[in-house]
Amino acid sequence: MPKLVFLATDIVLYLLLAAMAFYAWHALRTPTLRQAWRAVASDSAAMSAAVVLGAFLLVAVLDSFHYRPRLPAAPGVAAGAPVAYSTQTLSVLDALLAGPREAREKTYSVPLGTHQYSKESMLVGGKMIRDFPRLQFGGPHLKDTGRDWIGDLVRRSAAGLAGGALAAATLWLAVAALRARGTGVGIRESLRAIRHKTTYIPWRAMLLTAAALALFVGWVAALWPWYHVFGTDQTGNDILFQAIKSVRTALVIGSLATLATLPFAIVFGILAGYYKGRVDDVIQYIYTVLSSIPSVLLIAAFVLMIQVFIDKNPQMFETGVERADVRLFLLSAILGITGWASLARLLRAETLKLTELEYVQAARAFGVSDAGIMRRHILPNVMHVVLIVAVLDFSGLVLYEAVLSYVGVGVDPSTNSFGTMINSARTELARDPLVWWNLLAAFAFMVTLVLAVQLFASAVREAFDPRSRAFRPHRAKPAAGRARGAVTEAP
């Protein structure tokens, strides 16, 4: 039995998932919330993004169950001796991807390559020659790489893509069948409805996104055991594995930092707007002070402080992963502590408006306490602002992490993150011959993640802030559609 390890970020992530589940349950029971989320569910860009985000979330969750494997008993140790655990903390994702994680080369190699990227002196048949050595894990099954490589690649890719296509088709049929059962139409009718985009939920867009994902996963799954799909980095580690590991870091930073802003922003924003006067002055003063310090400097100052703390107390952390995790956790907390001013300002303005409304006056006339009014009458009515700002800020934080890592106040250097990947890409682009795959992998994963978050966020904003709906771009429709567009254009 391995020893389970609960890292600080793991626990917060579990709690966050539980909170999301609770919110979903709550939203289903509240008519207004259900209405707004139904609007999100009918947006094809948002729902496609949700499919992608779901995949990323799955990766992050798998990467959030940590344990330390049990070491095999050393020979000659008594049976009753305490069990020794590895000093390495692994996650379920690490275990699932044990192959690529342990497939370590000496240094750089190109994506899908069979040979190392740099020459080495080798002893071949008693003679010393300089050549590109074969990779240990890049196409080890090929006898003659020059001849077999391309054929092997095509064969395996085709198999992987076929598998992905099969999975996508199955999913498509399954959705159609479930829809058919739910709505009481035939499966043929259901398939047609999906194809012609007449369903309320944009199934076609979602299924197409899922199909693209399935094809990619199928292709990777077919090739990964035999090749480094995205190549290896300077120390020979698999790049695709690092990119996948970075997903959790990005999601943790985005969600934890957003979460950390909420208590300050909500409490201070509502208090300032509700009590006005002195309280308002003090709170405004606090957040103006905070926001007048350039954020990179403020974060840098805090991070340097916690680094001192971590360095002073090395005994608190049993493994390197735990130490790195504490830094990640504190970094998110710092982003929250330094970043709550703008949300607090919005909430203050919203509360100022609400306290003038009749129902709040009525509650006060009935003798409801201040705390009661704020909790029951104001908080629920500013939550949409909180939600909108939270989803909009999320992608910014993911992007910010990369910048902070560059400045040197980001995550621990041992933590996989997009920032650390981009950082190493900086020297790789300057070297000759250049190494482009590290940057490409980081770029592809990061853009996909951020884009998905942003598309989803803008749909949430449109659903909860009807004013923003007017700014949606419209694609030109055939003649009739354009005429309608012209009419609806005036607000």
């Binding site: 606090i286 400097l297 002073k312 884009l451 700014f471």
Partner: protein, 325 residues
């Protein structure tokens, strides 16, 4: 008006005092001078003697707030707080932890920072306004849809990618401009071209979308309908009426960032080897030179507060309907 401005400035000074106290607490009590010394000396060379020597050299051996052993008024002034925080208000930044005069460095580095930041800002403003105005002009067409899609896509790309790819493309592949560096005279243009271009492109997506909503908001107003009703062409409506009116909120909102241009662009400067304040700050963070970081915090918040005050004033200048109170 004058009394309003005086009140705003007084509030600004109050904020600045708050910032100062906050950084003092953060840098000297959460983390003691001993910790700083240990971190700066580093590794095996840390010994009580070395720490003491490091502290004396930099004046960190004094008491924090109250020097009981000093005579008279020196009880207050011969302290770390007075040396390191109060003196900032007189723009006396003291010397950095590595022993150099911070004030001198800042004066040297403001020039290059402005040389990059001002063209980026002005050209960027122009490009963004043109782009977003085109989006509005072609609204409800494929052009708008794809322009919008491109802007959204550009927003999802980290600025680091723009820098890395731009450097690679223009400097290494096409060899049009040097990768990094800085020089005076006519060479300046060669060195600044790429940072300015990348600075504009990396902000284009997000800002174009923001300005687009501003223009769209303006286009729904009554005077626009009137202008159309009297038979003005769409171009005239857009460029003569909408643009002028929407420029007001845009210009007043940009006033806030004007003073911050002095700080330069943090990341851009350090990537392109421009000896400005941005790269100075980043180098200080990397070298864990707290004295520089503290000074830059002070300068940065000072500029931010000036920006706030300027914004308030520009509102009234631009729109006489707004009364100051």
């Amino acid at each position: 008006m004058i009394s309003y401005i005086i009140r705003r400035i007084a509030y600004g000074v109050l904020i600045l005092i708050g910032v100062n106290l906050f950084t003092f607490v953060l840098f000297f009590t959460v983390n003691t001078p001993d910790d700083m010394a240990r971190m700066n000396i580093g590794g095996k060379r840390v010994s009580p003697d070395a720490i003491e020597k490091w502290k004396v050299e930099r004046g960190y051996d004094k008491p924090l707030l109250w020097n009981a052993s000093a005579p008279g008024a020196d009880k207050l002034t011969n302290t770390i707080f007075f040396d390191r925080s109060v003196q900032l208000f007189a723009f006396d930044f003291g010397s950095s932890d590595s022993g150099r005069d911070i004030g001198y460095e800042i004066r040297q580095r403001v020039g290059p920072s402005i040389a990059v930041a001002v063209p980026t800002f002005l050209l960027g403003l122009f490009v963004v306004i043109v782009f977003s105005l085109l989006l509005v002009f072609f609204r409800n067409t494929y052009l708008e849809f794809w322009g919008f899609a491109i802007a959204v896509f550009m927003m999802a790309i980290s600025s680091l990618f723009y820098i890395l790819i731009g450097q690679f493309l223009f400097s290494k592949l096409l060899k049009l401009v040097p990768i990094s560096g800085f020089a005076g005279g006519t060479d300046l243009i060669v060195f600044l071209a790429l940072p300015v271009l990348i600075g504009i492109v990396s902000r284009l997506g997000a800002e174009a979308l923001f300005y687009r909503t501003m223009f769209l908001e303006e286009i729904g107003r009554d005077y626009v309908r009137t202008a159309r009703a009297k038979g003005l062409s769409e171009t005239a409506v857009l460029f003569r009426h909408v643009l002028r009116n929407a420029l007001l909120p845009i210009l007043t909102s940009t006033v806030a960032v004007l003073p911050l241009l002095f700080l330069g662009a943090l990341i851009m400067e350090s990537f392109f080897g421009i000896p400005g304040l941005g790269s100075y700050t980043i180098d200080a963070i990397n070298a864990q030179d707290f004295a520089i970081v503290r000074s830059m915090v002070f300068v940065g918040s000072l500029l931010y507060i000036i920006g706030l005050i300027l914004t308030d004033i520009s509102y009234t200048v631009a729109d006489p309907r707004i009364r100051l109170s």
